[in-house]
Amino acid sequence: MKSVEKKRRKLRICIVGLFFVFFFSVIGIKAIYLQAFCPWLNDRALEEREKSLIFRGKRGTIYDANGREMAVTSADVESITAHPRHIKDPRATAQALSRALQIDAKTLNVKLESGKSFIWVKRQVGPRKSRTVKDLRLKGVGFISEHSRFYPSGTLAAQVLGFTGVDDRGLEGIEFYYDNWLKGSDHKLTVLKDGFDRKFDTEENTDMSYSGKNLILTIDKTIQFITESALEEAVTDFSAKSGMAVVMEPDSGAVLALAHAPVFNPNSFGKFDRDLWRNKAVTDPFEPGSTMKIFSAAGAIEFGGCTPDTIFFCENGAYQIGEDVVHDSQPYGWMSLGKIIKYSSNIGSVKVSEMIGPQLLYKTLRDFGFGEKTRIDCPGETAGTLSFYRRWSKIDAGTISFGQGISVSAIQLITATSAIANGGMLMKPYIVQAITNSNGQPVESFGPRKIRRVVSAETAEAVRQMMKSVVEKGGTGEKAALKGYSACGKTGTAQKIDGKGQYAKGKYVASFIGFAPAEKPRVVILAVLDEPQKNHYGGTVATPVFRKIAYETLNYMNVPPRHEKKKLTASVAGDQLPMIVATVNGSLSMDHGE
């Protein structure tokens, strides 16, 4: 009996044992199958923990001409992301996030319930808020550190620099124009993530080779500051609607300062009117008015055989052309070309243009670069309007010669004037002088580029002399005269066109274009004020801007001032004496010519 039971037990134990043999075999076979024949499982695992983290290299820095930072990128912000598939309770998560970040819970809830693998909850959140969200310890909510663009000088040169959007892409200004250089390259970093989608065990995103390139501008922060201060003061003093001022180095075409008023802060561009974002000196054409007379005069000397002493009859203040009458602010009789410029006679200018004819006037203006883009490295440049001379009516030829019926951009105007200041060579204006890599080594540099010779050196010199007289006593720009430096210039007062194509009453653009020192111009300065209220004459409104910018900039650039002889010994140290004497001599000899 016992034996039977024992035998039965042994048999049944064997059967149970066989079951285990079977199950262990199945387990072993499945393990062998998975681990020896399923390499795709590893691919899946890699895909899951490595994908979807694309890093963008750090955006390049923008420096001024002296290596001072104007736009920098720092990595102190984080963006909050979510992985809806890992969120068990989207509603609670949405509510917690909306409370912490002050965003709409409903929209977020919809996004969280979308079943997408990845969404942005909020981009570029400051350290404090991201800390708050981290403390909530929400499952499926992640953080990505991101770069944020910062403009250390705030509003300074805002319209030139532009700004970047939340995706680290340039949206305006230099940031937009040079975006391909500045932006860091995208690269997939093999970032490993754990089950909570947090990355771990990866080198931080510091690889410089993915960083964007740096820009070195021709803009000098100090000159920019001088320019903006002077411009803002005038805009305030004369209650102008807006204003702009440009400083250019005439020999190279490098833009040293480019100012607009009112300003905006690129660090918080969204809070400002979009209208302020534009670099209007490049993008917006305006009718320049009398500043154009210097180019008509240059054409007359170059092509019409005139000299500054050639005389024209100025019709005693009123000159009928067809149905239109051109007026001067004061009646003049016979006047030399020099005096026409000095006193800014419109009728004189018309006579000059009649003498050289529309074809040559057109050629002269085209040669100076009007009616075509300067190709300065700023976005949205306008070509202005200069219609073909065969389409001019008789009055057009006349008014264009004194700057009405033609529109130009500030950058065109200052570039053309630079050609006069530098002896007749039209230069290509530029604002970025070099591109460097993240180690500071230059990868590209942009020097002065000649476009064409517009007028001979003699013609340019003759025009300069005429412009110098403008700043002297009795000239329309006498208020632009500088203490210690000789200067040349030309005023401009243009009536604005209203919406219907008519000249609007009481709406003017007052401007002054000039350069200094007269003998060897170092800076060309253009100041334009739009709709000044208290006075509309360029000679009154825009000259102080020129004077301040020129004086302070030349001082800053260590251009030795011309001292009157009696002050010389008193204020200047001995070792600087010979150079100054030379300058004094030069200017004295020029003074004799007047």
């Binding site: 009996m1 016992k2 034996s3 039971e5 024992k6 039965r8 037990r9 042994k10 049944r12 134990i13 064997c14 059967i15 149970v16 044992g17 285990f20 199950f23 262990f24 199945v26 387990i27 072993g28 499945k30 393990a31 062998i32 998975l34 681990q35 020896a36 399923c38 390499p39 795709w40 499982l41 590893n42 899946r44 695992a45 890699l46 899951e48 923990r49 598939r85 490993l192 754990d194 089950g195 909570f196 771990f200």
Partner: protein, 406 residues
Amino acid sequence: MKAHYKSDKIPQPPIAGSIQPGYDVSLLFPVLFLVGIGIVMVYSASSAVAAKKFESSYYFLKKQALFSMSGIVVLVLCRHFPLKLLRSFTYPLLVLAFLLLAALHITDLGISVGGAVRWLRLGSFSFQPSELTRLSLIVYLAYSLSKKQDRLENFYVGFLPHVLVLSVFATMILLQPDFGSVVILGIITWIMMFVGGVRISHLLTSLLVLIPVGCLFLISADYRMQRIASFWDPWQHAANGGYQAVHSLMAFGTGGIWGVGIGKGYQKLFYLPEPHTDFIFSVIGEEFGLIGVLIILGLYALILIKGIRIAMDTEDPFASLLAMGLTAAIGIQVCINMGVTLALLPTKGLTLPFLSYGGTSLLMNMASVGILMNISVNSGQLSADNGQLSVNSYQSSVKLPVTSEQ
């Protein structure tokens, strides 16, 4: 018959005793090896989780090391605990298991984790009554089946009482709820009834009744149906139901043949929900590869072979059934846990004996091994009480190594 039995059996113990001084090395070695690997793997698998939850990556390592020490003590105690006494403790053990299970629900000592009450708070430790229940039930079945072995053919004697006891415990454990433990208890009961000599027709017919009941049970709850669906095609449900299975499979696949190296696995980093308990085998698969997996499987096979050998070689029916029950319990846990990690079975939270983190589980399994060793060497003691003649020489031969151990 008796003579044959004597001559067959008597020479064995002294030989076994001389080779294995009191402790069956062929059983002890794989167990200690697994416990050792367990400590290392619990640390590897849990350090990231521990660092996040407890701000110390050693949290689970320290506790598991402590459990292992206690486990060895328990093993030694059970190895020397008189089997006779154990048999007489059958009903007190059953009552204790019943009271502890009841305590989960009627006292405030129950710890609720994720909606399930499975642990009792005992001072600074927690205890899992269902683990003790398993041991108690095995002892009871061994006792009852061996006592009634002449009448087991009778449905009311051999089948019904055991199934009734099982259903009492099953109901209480389902209340926690812990479906996985109930399945294990059921399988153990059936195996022990089968080995004990209950009629196969009773066992199979009852199974035929249970299958439709089980199907109804599955259909009755939506989440169970979903679980089955995600078991069928885990990749289709990788985002929710199949998440654990998919990541476990990825762990094995990533491990390949040689593994990624200890501590270098990825799936334990919050991809696998319980890397140091339910899915420690996946972590081993990833870090030690197929080689590691087969070694672990081999160690369990050694334990099972040894356990089954003990059950077969033991004359005493109680000891034999007890050995079979304890061995089967370990084997079933291994099969279910590995089956789950390899996506052969639907996901169920069950630990891997000796390897997984968990105090109660480790202590109970070590106790099982201690009892198995006890049976392997001392089953003669019981035979003596049963009035068998082989006692004296057997006893003395066994005592020698035990004393020599000191």
